[in-house]
Structures are given as structure tokens and as C-alpha cells.
């Protein structure tokens, strides 16, 4: 691969060039100087680029060629569910009746949109075993915070002001303790035991009258099903707390079990993971929240309801936690998710989880002779391996990840969860074929051999990318966060 720098779009700019087109101004001209006082009229123009349309397209095409997506190749990023993003969904989301509707149009003008949202809410309620679902929250982390604010409102309504603690496993996503904190709770950590599951004894110790909730991902971030879930639910419920389900890993359980059946009271789902809303290079996502009956009054407003044949927004919700987002959530992502659910149907979704789990177990088995597998039981949709055997040879998980880039793969999640040494967390998803899994396994095996026989090959990786390893220390020590025109150019 040719290593060369890609110029910034600002560096392509030439004064007076343009790549846009505006309508003719067909109203009488007024001088803005006559409308605004001079202090409020911008003097220095913003340093936006000035490029032609072709320059713009070549620039962004070049950038896209320096980027790797699911369509480029295998992307087994653990806990992110990098499955195929169906093309038909993109077309559907761009239909004028979805893409070009305004949130303040009267309900009578957007009944199709409301019907779509209502049916999606119903489907998600069925999948999660919850009573009511809101589509308001923008992403997983916002869903977590929303769910916790709901739990807080419930406890406060019962006069339970002493419930200030939220229990989070040490293997949880970082968003869990962060969301608990932002929702005004103190996070408490519960340990993982030698099985890779929540330590029940420790859970009993940390649970008490100050417990507001337990947040749990099930299967957990090690890809293991928390098989004591029924006892855990009892421990928390007996103490008067609520169970929060982080739906990041729900791709493993559709049609097999549901958070509602497991005893959870609140759930969020990541529609950009399990339900194929594309990841977009980091977003937008969508993080609907579902709750059991008892918590419905606290759902954020407005809430979509069906009144006879009509769909309407209900704002009259005195116990609601308030508004969490402008308008009605990330509608465009919700359209895609519903298109996916309608594509798969009940048996298809069930098949999705079965295939995702079989793919993960197969890949784990193929890698077992070459890497340490800390937890030997069947995994669910993902598994973790440890590169501690390779570390003894001086090769770390980071190096293996970088070497995978040369083989044409996006590496797995690395160094997470924190409780596994030299961790690599691999989630193949159901949309990958056996051949892809075999080729990836072959690459991982080849790298394990390289680590023994020619470690420099791995340590100096990547060799085939447009850029070599970047100096992240310098980036943080002397942050340069924007382009600024050099003085001599001005």
C-alpha cells in the first residue's frame, strides 16, 4: 500500500471557487446592514473550504478509500455487532414520506410515520418481553441514562430516597457506570467470579436497602450467559431494587429468552447493533427503552399512543421523567430497524441468534489450540481470548490487532473487558459465512505462528496500511484539534 498523506479539504481551497448551487433570490434585496446593528454583522468570514464539486467528490472518495467498513471486509468488533447493513433499508429511509417530514407537522399529516413507530415499539416490546417501549433515546448510553432516571423517579415516587446505589459488574461497558453517575447515582462494582459470571456471594454483599438497581448485560461482555439470572433477579427484587438490561448483546438471545422473562424491569436496545441501523462511523444510533407496567408512568414524554385508528402523541404525563431529546428520537434509524424486523420476521430473528451463536462458538473452537481461551464453556454471540501466551514472546494483543490489518481484517475489540489479560473480544455475527470465519481463523493462526517464529513481523505491523502506527501520546500531550491556516498564507 502506498503511504501518502491525504491533504485536508482546506488545503485544496482556492479563493472564489464553489461546489454548491443556491436558488436565485427572487425577492427584493434588502441590505443586511440596514437590518442588523454593525456589531452583529459578521466581519471575518469563516475559513470554510472553497472547492469545486469534482474536487469535493474526489476528496471524500479518497477519504472513503482510507476507511474500512463492514462492506470492506470482516469486522469482528466485540460487543458492537458489526453485521451487514441491508441496502433496501437505506432506500426505504430515503423515501420522501420518511426523509422529508417535519416534526411539527400535525399528527394527521404523519399517520404513516406514527404507525411505523407504533408497530416498531410493539415489535421491540415483544422481543424484549416489556410492556411499553419508547423510541426517544438517541443511543445506547442515552438509553441507559433514561432507564436509570426512570428507576430513580419510581423510587422517589415511593419515598425511597435512600436508594442511591447502582450495582454494575466489573466486566460492564464503561457507559454503565458513567450513565449511573450522570443519573445522580453512585455506581458500586460487583466482581466477576472464576466462571466469568457475576459473583453471587459478592452481589448479596453489595445489595441492600440503598440499592436502586443492578445493571446487567446478558450475555455479558465475555460472551457468557449469566446463568444465575433468576437468583440475581431475586436478590435485587427482594432488596427492593430494579433490574436494568443493557441490550448491547441482544443479538444472542432473540427468540431464545427475553429480558422480561429473565426478570428485568427496564431494557434498552441498540438498534444500530442487533437491528442493523448502520454504525455510520460512530453514529447516529438509536437506543429505545422498554419497561414493565409499573414503570410506564415514568417514561419520557411524549409517548406515542393509539386512539382508535389514529396515532397521537400524549404529553399529559405528570409522572414522566421529562423530555430527554428533541422531537421523537432518531426516526431515520428507527425506520431502518423496523424494515429489518419486517424482513426477518419471528423465525428469521430466532435464526439470527442461533447462527450468531454458532458462528462464535465455531470460531472460538478453531482458535482454541493457538490462543488462551479463559472461559471454556459455550459462548453466546461473542467470546474473548487472551494473548497472554503470545505476550511471553513479546507480542501483545495490540500487535496482533495491528497485524490483522495486513491480512485485510478489522481487528476485534481489544483490552476489554478489563478483567481478562491481553483480551481480544471477537463477535463474528450471523451475516458472515463459514468461509470467512475459516479464512479469519487461518490468519489468526498464521499470526500466532509469526509471533513464535518472526515476531518482528507482528511487532512492526501494520505494513500494508496507508499509515503506520500513530503517536497517540503526542496527540494527547500537544493536542491539535483543528486546522488553522498557517500565518504566512494569511
Amino acid at each position: 500500500m502506498k503511504r501518502e498523506e491525504q491533504r485536508l479539504i482546506f488545503e485544496l481551497s482556492r479563493p472564489g471557487r464553489s461546489g454548491g448551487s443556491l436558488p436565485e433570490n427572487d425577492v427584493p434585496e434588502i441590505n443586511v446592514n440596514e437590518l442588523f446593528s454593525s456589531d452583529y454583522i459578521r466581519k471575518d468570514e469563516p475559513e470554510l473550504p472553497e472547492v469545486s464539486e469534482l474536487q469535493l467528490i474526489r476528496h471524500y472518495t479518497a477519504l472513503s478509500n482510507r476507511n474500512f467498513g463492514v462492506d470492506s471486509g470482516f469486522y469482528p468488533l466485540g460487543s458492537c455487532t458489526m453485521k451487514y447493513n441491508p441496502k433496501v433499508n437505506e432506500g426505504i429511509a430515503r423515501m420522501a414520506g420518511f426523509a422529508h417530514i417535519h416534526p411539527y407537522q400535525p399528527e394527521s399529516q404523519v399517520q404513516g410515520a406514527l404507525q411505523m413507530m407504533y408497530e416498531l415499539q410493539d415489535s421491540l416490546a415483544a422481543i424484549t418481553g416489556m410492556n411499553t417501549v419508547t423510541l426517544q433515546s438517541a443511543a445506547g448510553a442515552q438509553g441507559e441514562w433514561t432507564g436509570l432516571m426512570i428507576i430513580r423517579a419510581f423510587h422517589e415516587a415511593n419515598g425511597d430516597h435512600q436508594r442511591t446505589k447502582v450495582i454494575v459488574p466489573d466486566s460492564a461497558h464503561g457507559t454503565n457506570p458513567a450513565s449511573a453517575s450522570v443519573a445522580g447515582f453512585d455506581p458500586v462494582t460487583v466482581k466477576t467470579d472464576e466462571r466469568g459470571l457475576v459473583d453471587l456471594e459478592h452481589l448479596r454483599e453489595v445489595t441492600g436497602p440503598d440499592t436502586a438497581a443492578l445493571m446487567l448485560t446478558n450475555p455479558n461482555t465475555l460472551g457468557l450467559f449469566e446463568e444465575d439470572i433468576v437468583e440475581m433477579a431475586e436478590i435485587i427484587h427482594d432488596a427492593g431494587g430494579k433490574l436494568y438490561y443493557d441490550g448491547a448483546n441482544s443479538n444472542a438471545i432473540m427468540g431464545k429468552t427475553s429480558p422480561g422473562d429473565m426478570g428485568f424491569d427496564v431494557v434498552h436496545l441498540n438498534l444500530h447493533k442487533t437491528f442493523t441501523g448502520p454504525h455510520g462511523g460512530g453514529g447516529p444510533g438509536s437506543g429505545p427503552v422498554g419497561v414493565k407496567e409499573e414503570l410506564v408512568p415514568y417514561l419520557p414524554k411524549p409517548l406515542l399512543v393509539k386512539d382508535g385508528e389514529d396515532y397521537t402523541w400524549n404529553y399529559d404525563r405528570p409522572e414522566a421523567i421529562g423530555r430527554i431529546k428533541p422531537f421523537y428520537g432518531n426516526f431515520g434509524i428507527n425506520v431502518r430497524a423496523y424494515a429489518y424486523i419486517r424482513t426477518m420476521g419471528p423465525t428469521g430473528l430466532h435464526q439470527v441468534s442461533e447462527n450468531a451463536v454458532l458462528n462464535a462458538n465455531y470460531l472460538m473452537k478453531r482458535l482454541e489450540p493457538y490462543y488462551d481461551i479463559p472461559y471454556q464453556q459455550y459462548c453466546k454471540h461473542e467470546f474473548v481470548l487472551s494473548a497472554k501466551r503470545q505476550k511471553k514472546l513479546g507480542v501483545r494483543a495490540l500487535d496482533i490487532a495491528k497485524r490483522l490489518l495486513d491480512y485485510g481484517y478489522h481487528p476485534p475489540t481489544i483490552y476489554f473487558p478489563l478483567n481478562v489479560e491481553e483480551c481480544m473480544m471477537i463477535e463474528p455475527t450471523e451475516t458472515e459465512s463459514k468461509e470467512t470465519l475459516d479464512e479469519f481463523a487461518d490468519a489468526m493462526i498464521a499470526i500466532a505462528k509469526e509471533a513464535e517464529e518472526e515476531p518482528d513481523q507482528v511487532l512492526e505491523a501494520p505494513h500494508e496500511t496507508v499509515i503506520s502506527r500513530l503517536d497517540e501520546t503526542q496527540a494527547a500531550r500537544k493536542p491539535i484539534l483543528r486546522y488553522e491556516k498557517a500565518k504566512e498564507e494569511q
Binding site: 476507511n67 462492506d71 408497530e119 421529562g322
Partner: protein, 449 residues
């Protein structure tokens, strides 16, 4: 035949199970306690083929009246602007939209550089030193700014003041967010459609961590940022300004008035309305607050050979490192929409963004003058960007119904937020509204007076 998204054949399944050492797939789920296993299929509708799926969604879409079919005078945070064709061409590149957060910079230079360029564009547009990679939307970005103001003061100051002229839904969102750490949110009243600076001066105290205003504000009018800055300075409070970024093509940016944080939504640049989301929040601030900023930041650095490249940086602020001590719980953001906005800003460019902003001013003032000539009262008359409030003489909700029967989507009925404003309509006029459409709108309103 397999499903088109599920490549596993019966042969594959058999071979894989053999390798795994399981007799059948259900064995892989044996760790799920029997008492919580689902014994019946999911209660969702049956699968549709691709043609049936398209037809189903076409039917639903057809039950919505698109603002591309009828001229619309709705704004209030979501605007009907021209989206250059280049935007969809770029965001449809699946190397962008099927990627995730650029954790592996060597194969994510495209996304990282695009974000870096976005940060640069937002910083220059707002007149601020730095900007982050994006937030969910303008309202939650504002709420995060309020939280940052309090944490920046180490939670010793617990009050946030917010002007009544900030979008009512944004005020609601800020309220919900500040309920988390139990901060006080107090509303500063308005006078003639702008923040009442005198009232603000009386409300301000040493407990105030931040003062929030909108510029141009919810009613489209221009706040006096010089006076607001002075008022905030009296107690060392942060001045947080929510701005429509397009307006900053013609208006002096908040950074020039000394704003500490500027937030808003880049929807006016290249993002479809989509019934309100996803859009794209932005967050710009001073370098002083660099390590308190919520969300992702991309920075420039060099690789081992000294070649320039980009990485996610200052991650010690973030949830995946700091967990409960993080500056925010935000994880995913709106990267693809930030890309859409970058493309639109680049397409229009330095001159085009200004011209577009000026056109919005022209069209809105033409509409306003025409309404005045037709005998309507403009509520809070003054300089506006592309929105203003008109008293339509009758409940706006009824007027809108009648307008729609004539094929016009009227402005926002402010009675939605307060009953005493039921005759007030917030009218938005962008560059896309033709003179003819504005004239029809004015004539139709006049006929209903």
C-alpha cells in the same frame, strides 16, 4: 435456500456443530435456565420478501405529507434547506456508513480526517477555538454544556440560568439532564422577545455556574450577547450560546462576544428533516475547557515515519477509560450526519454559506414585510434571521388546518407551548421558499383573518 442475510447452509451447520462438538444448536443455549426460555415464537409479524417490504413501507410513507410536496413554513429547530446532491453521494459510500467508531486509526484515516475537518469547520463558523466530533442533537448538546459548566466549577456552583427565549423543548431537555446531578435550573424571563437583561442581573448570584441563551433565539430575534456576557462575568459564570450554525454565516459568531461554549445542531447543513432525527449536535468551546469536553475528539499527530495522521485523542475524559468519573456518558455520536454537514458546508463554501444565510434573511424579511402590509402584527418585531412570530388573529392551530386544505404547511402554532400564545405563529422562511409561495401564504392568511 438460505435467507439472503444468513449465509449458513445446512452443510455448514453440520460441519460447524461437529467442530464445536455439539449435537445441535439448542445445546449451545443450554446455559439459559429452563424457566426463562421462550417456548413459543416471537410475537412479531411474519417476514416479508424484499418487494413486499418495499411496498409495505411505500404505503406507510404515502400516508405522510412530505414538505417536498407542499411549501412549508415550519422551522423551530428543523429547517428545509437545499441539500447538495454531493451529500448523499458521499454518505452513501459504505466505507463510511458501515464502519464504526475509528478505534483502529490505520484503517480509519478517512473517518478520522473527516471528523477533524468537521471540528475545524465548526470552530471557524462559531468563532471558537475547538469543537468536538458531534453530539446527538442541539438540545442534548446544550444540556451537556450545562453539566460541563457545573463540573468545571467542581459542582460548587449549582445553578444554571436559562433564558425563556431558548427553544422550549431544549429547556425541557436541559431540565431533565440537570435533574441527574440535582442542579437548579432557573428561567430568565424575556422582554419583547429577547432575554430580559435587567432580570438576569437580578437573578445572577455566586451560585450560578452557567447562563444559557439562544442566538438567534427561539423567536428568531438577535440577543444582545455583549450585555449577556457582562452579566455572566459578574459572577464568573460560563456563557453558553445555542446557535443555528447557518445564521453564523451572516451574524457575528458568539465566539467574538466571548462565549465560553457554543452548541447547536448542524441539521441546516445537509441533513434531512426525518421527522426530527437523527440530526447532529455540535459542541464548540475554548481550549481552557478541552479536558472537560463531552464526547469524542480527533487530533492530528504523526506516524512512525513522521507522516501526518489523525487519532481519537484526550480519551481520558471518556466513559470507556474513566467509567463513572467520565465527563459524560456519551459513546456513539452522529458521525455520519457530521459528515453530511461537512460535505454541505464544503460544497457551499465560505462565500456560499454567507450567501445562503443572507438569502434566508432576505426571504424572511420579505415575508415579514408582506404580512405587515397585509395588516398583521409582528410579535417581537426587530431584526430576525429566518424566523419571526406573527399574530394570526385566531388560534394558529385552526389557521394551519385551513392553510393545509389549500396545500400550504403553515408555521408553528406557539399555543403548543403556552395557551396565551395560541394566536402566535412562528414562521420560518428559508432560501427554498419562492416569492410566489410566500405571496400565496400571505394572501391565504389574509383571507382567513
Amino acid at each position: 435456500m438460505t435467507h439472503r442475510y444468513l449465509p449458513m447452509t445446512e452443510d455448514d451447520r453440520r460441519e460447524m456443530l461437529e467442530t464445536v462438538g455439539a449435537s445441535d444448536v439448542s445445546e449451545l443455549f443450554s446455559d439459559i435456565p429452563k424457566s426463562v426460555r421462550l417456548d413459543q415464537g416471537l410475537d412479531v409479524r411474519k417476514a416479508l420478501s424484499e418487494p413486499a417490504l418495499i411496498e409495505y413501507f411505500q404505503t406507510l410513507a404515502a400516508r405522510n405529507d412530505s414538505i417536498k410536496k407542499y411549501p412549508s413554513f415550519l422551522g423551530a429547530g428543523v429547517y428545509d434547506h437545499h441539500i447538495p446532491s454531493t451529500v448523499d453521494a458521499v454518505i452513501s459510500r459504505s466505507e463510511f456508513y458501515t464502519a464504526y467508531t475509528p478505534y483502529q486509526p490505520e484503517v480509519s484515516q478517512g473517518e478520522l480526517q473527516a471528523v477533524y475537518e468537521f471540528q475545524s469547520m465548526i470552530a471557524t463558523l462559531t468563532g471558537m477555538e475547538i469543537a468536538n466530533s458531534s453530539m446527538y442533537d442541539g438540545h442534548t448538546s446544550l444540556a451537556e454544556a450545562a453539566l460541563m459548566a457545573a463540573t468545571q466549577k467542581r459542582m460548587k456552583k449549582q445553578t444554571i440560568l436559562i433564558s425563556e427565549t431558548v427553544h422550549p423543548e431544549a429547556r425541557d431537555v436541559v431540565q431533565t439532564f440537570v435533574n441527574g446531578p440535582r442542579l437548579n435550573l432557573e428561567t430568565v424571563p424575556s422582554e419583547k422577545g429577547v432575554t430580559d437583561v435587567q432580570a438576569l442581573k437580578e437573578m445572577i448570584s455566586s451560585d450560578v455556574a452557567g447562563v444559557i441563551v439562544q442566538y438567534p433565539n427561539f423567536y428568531g430575534t438577535i440577543e444582545d450577547l455583549t450585555q449577556l456576557r457582562e452579566a455572566a462575568d459578574e459572577v464568573g459564570a460560563l456563557l453558553i450560546v445555542k446557535s443555528n450554525p447557518l445564521a453564523l454565516g451572516v451574524l457575528t459568531p458568539p465566539g467574538d462576544f466571548g462565549a465560553d461554549v457554543v452548541v447547536g445542531d448542524t441539521q441546516p447543513f445537509g441533513i434531512q428533516g426525518q421527522y426530527g432525527g437523527p440530526h447532529c449536535g455540535y459542541f464548540a468551546t475554548k481550549k481552557t475547557f478541552m479536558r472537560k469536553v463531552p464526547g469524542r475528539l480527533v487530533g492530528e499527530t504523526v506516524d512512525e515515519e513522521g507522516q501526518r495522521g489523525y487519532v481519537l485523542t484526550l480519551q481520558a475524559r471518556e466513559q470507556h477509560i474513566r467509567r463513572d468519573k467520565a465527563t459524560s456518558n456519551i459513546c456513539s455520536n452522529q458521525a455520519l450526519n457530521a459528515l453530511a454537514s461537512s460535505v454541505a458546508m464544503s460544497a457551499f463554501g465560505k462565500k456560499g454559506v454567507k450567501e445562503m444565510a443572507v438569502q434566508n434573511v432576505q426571504k424572511a424579511h420579505y415575508a415579514k414585510t408582506s404580512l405587515k402590509d397585509a395588516g398583521f402584527t409582528i410579535v417581537h418585531d426587530g431584526p430576525h434571521f429566518n424566523e419571526f412570530v406573527v399574530d394570526v388573529g385566531r388560534p394558529a392551530v385552526e389557521v394551519n388546518k385551513e392553510l393545509f386544505s389549500e396545500g400550504i404547511i403553515g408555521g408553528l402554532d406557539l399555543g403548543r407551548f403556552s395557551p396565551e400564545q395560541e394566536q402566535h405563529m412562528l414562521v420560518c422562511v428559508t432560501e427554498l421558499r419562492k416569492k410566489e409561495e410566500i405571496d400565496q401564504f400571505v394572501a391565504a392568511l389574509k383571507a382567513k383573518k
